[in-house]
């Protein structure tokens, strides 16, 4: 008997006007694994995540979370499903009208999992797990550096102990050392929480550090997927070109034709 994937996507289509972004995506993410989707800019990686979260509505296809199709689900049921998720956004997306501790515990307070009087100490404990001192809790997001904002975003994503965590370009805009720190934290936190992780990135150093499995999205389809340690022997010219960052290759040729 095969295990039901935590996330199962079949024949997913999404377009904006005449621009087709997702053109029949099929993807399985198993429980406890860290799946990373790679692909060039504008290939629809973020759109795929937003479709899973219900922020965008696909035209066709199915998205199952723990065997339950979430497309067309009513608001209340979707809200229940979303309680399983945590997400680290590309720009951290911290609420700049709230101090750091309220950002970290926002989901817990919204779900009434902690009292307001206890929230600050919970936030400080979660900040410690991502390597930030207690005095950061009282600061505003605008007072933090890019790396610190990412770490607060990570703290917010794991505060609720989610079953599934999404990472949207977690290392974009960071220096290589801070990017590695964030990668280590992601691996550590995902392991600690015991979550299933789905990340999107085009940073290959990040992919090699955080991925158990990798899938490549190109022209709205998954063109290759497999274990991370097999990516260098994929026998796929698109994957080879992408992971080696070569200007020459089929992806560039397609761009020239267009």
């Amino acid at each position: 008997m095969t295990e039901t994937p935590v996330i199962r996507i079949r024949d997913l289509h999404k377009q904006f006007g005449s621009k087709v972004v997702l053109n029949g995506v099929d993807l399985d993410v198993k429980a406890g694994e860290s799946m990373v989707i790679i692909g060039g800019s504008g290939t629809g990686k973020s759109v795929l995540l937003k479709c899973i979260l219900g922020i965008l509505v696909p035209e066709r296809g199915s998205i199952e979370i723990d065997g339950e199709n979430i497309i067309g689900m009513n608001r209340q049921d979707r809200k229940e499903i979303l309680k399983k998720f945590g997400m680290l956004f590309q720009g951290a997306a911290l609420f700049d009208s709230l101090p750091v501790w309220e950002n970290v515990t926002f989901g817990l307070l919204a779900q009434k999992k902690v009292k307001r009087s206890e929230a600050k100490s919970v936030a400080i404990e979660t900040l410690r797990r991502v390597g930030l001192e207690a005095d950061v809790a009282g600061l505003n997001p605008s007072e933090l550096s890019g790396g610190m904002q990412k770490r607060v975003g990570l703290a917010r994503a794991i505060a609720n102990k989610p079953e599934i965590i999404f990472f949207d370009e977690p290392t974009t805009g960071l220096d290589p050392i801070m990017a590695d720190v964030i990668n280590d934290l992601i691996v550590e936190c995902v392991k600690e929480v015991g979550a299933t992780a789905l990340s999107i990135t085009h940073d290959m150093a990040s992919v090699r550090k955080i991925a158990d499995r990798v899938a490549m999205l190109y022209k709205g389809k998954i063109i290759w997927s497999g274990p991370c340690d097999e990516i260098d022997q994929s026998d796929n010219e698109f994957v080879d070109q992408f992971i080696n960052g070569r200007a020459e290759g089929p992806i560039h040729m397609e761009l020239l034709k267009a």
């Binding site: 979260l53 979303l82 997400m87 956004f89 609420f95 009208s97 989901g107």
Partner: protein, 270 residues
């Protein structure tokens, strides 16, 4: 020949009709989106969860912090109104109508409309810019991932707070406006303070105050709705936020002036 016209003329006609059709469809689509947004906002007011803490913050930001600008505008408008009426009335030996016209003009019309326009410039713009920035920096998407309905969390408290606070601001504007007229009339134009107050109270009717407060609440709803609608649906980066802010203020001002006429017609046409 096509449609009884030379081919090139027929295509020009069809192009013109196409533009009309496209504009009409765009207008209807925008009206539909705004209608749904308004319905969503009204339903949100009466359905849980209720964010009382955020409602309180918004009431303070919208009501208390708008007091200085609304008060100053009303003070100088009341004073200028008194001077104008005195000069105009003196041509017909009718200077004595000054207190009556100042109070009716301020309470029925200038208080609510000026407060509405000033608050639209201050609050609609702030709402559109804040929500627009939250949209383009993915903060609104982040709310979804944190089990929070962004509409209920961001839009509903702003609309409720503005609709509640505008009548209070208009009461302040009416009072300060009448006071501005009083100061000029008694200090500069030689009116007797006791008689001025007596005439003001005598000619101010309950219906004037009710109309003023009704206008205030409607204007509050309109200006917050426009600020939230344009900010919440903004697209693109900084330019998109700028466009949303401009559209919010312009549409709020136009709708305030339009609804002012209809409310005045409703209360005083007979």
């Amino acid at each position: 020949m096509l449609l009884g016209l030379p081919v090139n003329r027929a295509f020009e006609h069809m192009n013109f009709l196409g533009i009309i059709g496209r504009v009409t469809l765009q207008f209807l689509a925008a009206a539909g989106r705004l209608g749904l947004f308004t319905a969503h906002a009204i339903i949100g007011i009466f359905s849980p969860p209720f964010y009382f803490r955020d409602l309180g913050k918004q009431m303070l930001a919208i009501g208390y912090y708008s007091l200085p600008v609304v008060g100053l505008t009303a003070l100088f408008t009341g004073a200028a109104l008194a001077l104008n009426i005195y000069v105009g009335g003196s041509r017909f030996n009718a200077e004595s109508v000054l207190p009556t016209i100042v109070v009716i003009g301020m309470v029925r019309e200038l208080g609510p409309v000026l407060a509405g326009l000033i608050v639209a410039g201050r609050v609609s713009a702030a709402m559109a810019a804040e929500l627009g920035t939250m949209r383009v920096t993915e903060q609104i998407d982040a709310l979804v991932t944190l089990s929070t309905d962004p509409f209920k969390y961001l839009v509903t408290p702003r609309i409720v707070a503005t609709t509640i606070m505008m009548p209070f601001l208009v009461i302040v504007a009416d009072t300060i406006g009448v006071f501005g007229g009083f100061v000029i009339a008694t200090d500069k134009l030689g009116f007797n303070p006791g008689i001025y107050v007596e005439k003001t109270v005598e000619f101010l009717e309950k219906i004037d105050v009710i109309a003023s407060l009704t206008k205030a609440a409607v204007f509050g709803f309109i200006l917050s709705l426009m600020g939230c609608y344009h900010g919440y649906n903004s697209k693109g980066g900084a330019q998109g936020v700028g466009v949303a802010t401009t559209n919010a203020v312009v549409s709020a001002c136009i709708l305030i002036l339009l609804s002012d006429y209809f409310i005045t017609e409703m209360f005083f046409s007979s």
